[in-house]
């Protein structure tokens, strides 16, 4: 702040550079804190971090230059990411102290804060002039997209490693902190993408509009499968290791029927909404299920599981054929 004031009074350029080094310094302290401290508010962090952010805001306000400039984008986006990271870390630590029984609760907190920020971001850039509306592109297309990518990564990682330990509560599919956080993240990402499509900006041109929705669909598909696998692990004691999961006849039968149900629901919704491409995705999933039945289930499962797989999938295909015809091509929207 002193350097900033010197720069303002005597127009000393190097003083401005020194002032702008506050953000890298804060990033360095954050990395050091991550390596040495249990949470950011310890050792006087509860006072120093808010003061540092206030000081940073003053410096950004004075020196960021023109909006959309690289310096303005970097300052605003990096400070938003740092703020979210520190807040998430503190929240996860507090949740871990309150519910020390499992790592699912703090894991959900790591997503809740960034998702909440992404939820608020469209409102902030339309209602709060500084720093959000003035630096709209920096917040929406740099900070926001970065946080969206983080949330997507969080979703993938937690689905891959979390076994569904919801202690002290019993495991209930969907009604547990991880699955609710996953739902929150997917809804937030969907809503954010819908908002971005309304923004006419140069930043939007840098995003390929064909990517976000399929990426969201893949995230949702992986999450739904993870729910199924976690449930089989928790309720039927199937080990949560990829090799053992794939070797389990119960898992293979459940996956076949579950994928067939997903394909059915996808095709029914697509028929109702007249989304031809979505219907075709459901049809491809159904084809994958049939291929899986003959290539995997038929050769590996016992008689009862095989019968259940074939009868269940066959019945679902009958339902699809009866209720869900292919939408006409001229009404393709998605």
């Amino acid at each position: 702040l002193v350097s900033s004031e010197i720069h303002r009074r005597v127009l000393l350029r190097s003083a401005k550079v020194v002032a702008l080094l506050q953000l890298p310094a804060m990033l360095g302290f954050a990395v050091h804190a991550a390596l040495t401290l249990r949470h950011p508010s310890v050792d006087g962090g509860w006072l120093s971090w808010p003061l540092a952010f206030v000081g940073l805001s003053c410096i950004v306000f004075r020196h960021q230059g023109a909006a959309r400039a690289p310096l303005a984008n970097a300052l605003n986006a990096l400070s938003a990411w740092l703020f979210c990271a520190l807040l998430s870390w503190e929240a996860a630590w507090a949740v871990n102290i309150a519910v020390a029984a499992s790592d699912m609760w703090p894991g959900a907190a790591w997503a809740a804060i960034p998702a909440l920020f992404l939820f608020l971001l469209p409102r902030l850039v339309t209602r709060v002039t500084w720093p959000f509306a003035i630096n709209r592109d920096a917040y929406l297309f740099v900070a926001g997209v970065g946080i969206a990518l983080y949330l997507g990564t969080w979703s993938l990682v937690t689905n891959a490693v979390s076994v569904g330990d919801t202690a002290p509560l019993p495991y209930v599919p969907v009604l547990n902190p991880l699955d609710l956080a996953q739902t929150f993240v997917l809804l937030i990402l969907f809503g954010y993408w819908r908002f971005l499509r309304t923004v006419r900006s140069a930043g939007f041109a840098r995003i390929d509009p064909r990517v976000p929705m399929p990426a969201l669909a893949v995230l949702a598909f992986i999450w739904l499968n993870a729910i199924l696998l976690r449930t089989l692990h928790q309720w039927f004691a199937v080990p949560f290791e990829l090799e053992q999961l794939m070797a389990s006849t119960l898992v293979q039968t459940s996956l076949s029927i579950f994928w067939a149900i997903l394909a059915l629901v996808t095709m029914l919704v697509a028929t109702h909404k007249r989304y031809r491409l979505v219907w075709l995705v459901g049809a491809v999933l159904l084809a994958v299920v049939i291929a899986k039945l003959f290539l995997i289930d038929l050769s590996r499962t016992g008689s009862v599981e095989r019968i259940v797989s074939f009868v269940g999938v066959g019945l679902l295909m009958l339902v699809v054929g009866y209720f869900s015809p292919l939408p006409p091509a001229n009404e393709t929207q998605q």
Binding site: L169, L175, L180, F195
Partner: protein
């Protein structure tokens, strides 16, 4: 048990109602340091003084404590249910938002 100037002073706890078993001091020697007869002669054994009967806990000690209300679990379930309501509201709003 405390030793003071060649005298062992001990405090015994027990019941004043239950009859004493026919035991001699030697019956208690198992597990204790072996002492010679000369040392034993130095000790004076006397009958313990029986005080008045005092009921400390009584029959209430035999009744199990009622389980404490699981506040933590209740709070966590409440948080989850509140999250479900909020997510349902979010999904409803997204579904009914005019097409952007």
């Amino acid at each position: 048990m405390k030793r003071a100037a060649g005298l062992m002073v001990g405090l015994s706890l027990g019941s004043s109602v239950v009859q004493a078993a026919p035991l001699s001091p030697q019956d208690f020697a198992f597990g204790l340091p072996v002492i010679t007869n000369q040392e034993a002669a130095a000790y004076r054994f006397s009958l313990p003084l029986v005080g008045s009967r005092r009921v400390l806990g009584g029959s209430t000690r035999l009744v199990g404590k009622p389980a404490a209300f699981p506040w933590m679990r209740a709070v966590l379930w409440s948080v989850l249910l509140l999250a479900v309501v909020l997510l349902a509201w979010m999904a409803y709003r997204l579904a009914n938002e005019p097409g952007r």
